[in-house]
């Protein structure tokens, strides 16, 4: 076993998240898929921190978590505000803006 196992696992998780963003319709689930992508990035960063022998990767992962927390707050607030008027969190129902 070597470190590329972790990295390939992270790449697969990232891809699953990206595909999930494209196929799921519920805005909250789409957002969860984005969180999965960020988690995959964190695994990559921490693995690289170990392979390069620098702590920088861990610190970047810490920043990713902080930023993700802020993003979740803003994102869920926006989704809630649209839900309260529409009673639906499906991205398909957000269809006023079409040409």
């Amino acid at each position: 076993m070597n470190l590329s196992y972790y990295l390939v696992l992270a790449a697969i998780l990232f891809t699953i998240g990206a595909v999930g963003v494209l196929v799921r319709r519920n805005a909250i689930v789409v957002f969860m898929c984005i969180e999965l992508m960020l988690n995959a990035v964190n695994l990559t960063l921490i693995t690289f921190a170990r392979s390069t022998g620098t702590v920088d990767g861990q610190i970047i992962a810490l920043f990713v978590m902080v930023v993700a927390a802020a993003e979740v707050v803003v994102g869920l607030a926006i989704i809630m505000s649209i839900y309260r008027t529409r009673r639906s969190a499906s991205v398909d129902d957000a269809n006023l803006l079409k040409y």
């Binding site: 076993m1 070597n2 470190l3 590329s4 196992y5 972790y6 990295l7 390939v8 696992l9 790449a11 697969i12 998780l13 891809t15 699953i16 998240g17 990206a18 595909v19 999930g20 494209l22 196929v23 319709r25 519920n26 909250i28 689930v29 957002f31 969860m32 969180e35 999965l36 988690n39 964190n42 695994l43 921490i46 921190a49 170990r50 392979s51 022998g53 620098t54 702590v55 861990q58 610190i59 992962a61 810490l62 920043f63 978590m65 930023v67 993700a68 927390a69 802020a70 993003e71 707050v73 803003v74 869920l76 607030a77 926006i78 809630m80 505000s81 839900y83 969190a89 499906s90 398909d92």
Partner: protein, 285 residues
């Protein structure tokens, strides 16, 4: 370990953990994307995040492992679940494809991306040297300070600017959340108990309105109350709800038909159901 012999051998224990938790993480990710119910998706994602937290600890990042569990699963995912419950638990997804072929296209794109990036990474890193972090943060009982100190040392020097700007980000998040959820009341727009009660006694009806369902034989709030003579009580219409025809319990028409006082309270016996205004009894069991 000296710097010259850079390289850490990955032990069997770690391999075992990887081969157990790796598939678990993968299953969590797939479960999240595939499950119809949004709450199930969130729980599957928690599984993946916990597995990744263990990987962080194994990979010499115990601090981040803890943060992963506390912040990601403990705070962020709880927030997700909280909002899901607020929005309505059965917000399950429709499986109808709105853009034809979108799912296939997304899968093809995903497969292409995974092949490109995955294979690229696998090839580029298959004999990646593992320097390990013992030099900078010390292993268990190592000479240098621990993981938390190493992280703090860099965080407050090289990454100080990013750290401080994160403050701006958190202010934006707090202001944004309040902005979108906190409804400011006009001063004086909310009447006190005293004012409300005074206003009520100034009308010609100081008592409470008849509740929906008084004298009615249905449990729905949309069913208007009935007066003793069988007319509808106009006062009892719920505001905001269209009064509608509600399925009612069978109407007792006479003692000889009902037989006993018990039955007059509404019977579940299907034989009594063909009375006027009644319902077919079978479905009320």
């Amino acid at each position: 370990m000296t710097p010259e012999t850079a390289g850490v051998v990955i032990g069997t224990g770690e391999a075992v953990i990887f081969w157990i938790l790796g598939p678990v993480a993968l299953a969590g990710a797939l479960g999240m994307v595939l499950s119809r119910n949004a709450v199930h998706s969130a729980l599957w994602l928690v599984l993946t995040m916990l597995s990744l937290g263990v990987f962080y600890v194994v990979q010499e990042a115990p601090f981040l492992g803890a943060v992963q569990v506390i912040v990601y699963t403990g705070a962020i995912m709880i927030l997700f679940l909280f909002v899901l419950m607020l929005v309505g638990r059965d917000s399950s997804d429709s499986v109808v494809e709105t853009l034809r072929g979108q799912r296939v296209a997304a899968l093809a794109l995903g497969a292409g991306f995974a092949a490109l990036v995955g294979a690229g990474i696998a090839r580029a890193t298959q004999d990646l040297p593992v320097l390990g972090l013992e030099q900078v943060q010390g292993g268990v009982g190592g000479p240098s300070s621990g993981n938390v100190e190493a992280v703090a040392g860099l965080l407050y020097t090289r990454y100080l600017l990013a750290f401080e700007v994160t403050g701006a980000l958190l202010i934006v998040a707090a202001v944004g959340a309040l902005l979108l959820t906190h409804v400011e009341r006009e001063p004086g727009s909310r009447q006190t108990q005293k004012e409300l009660s005074r206003a009520r006694f100034l009308t010609d009806r100081p008592q409470t309105l008849p509740g929906p369902g008084v004298h009615a034989r249905a449990t729905s709030v949309a069913a208007p109350a009935l007066l003793p003579d069988g007319r509808l009580a106009e006062d009892s219409f719920a505001t905001g709800i269209e009064p509608e025809q509600v399925e009612q319990m069978p109407r007792p028409t006479g003692r000889e038909q009902l037989g006993s006082p018990d039955a007059a309270l509404g019977s579940l016996d299907p034989t009594l159901s063909d009375t006027p205004g009644g319902r077919t009894g079978g479905e009320h069991r």
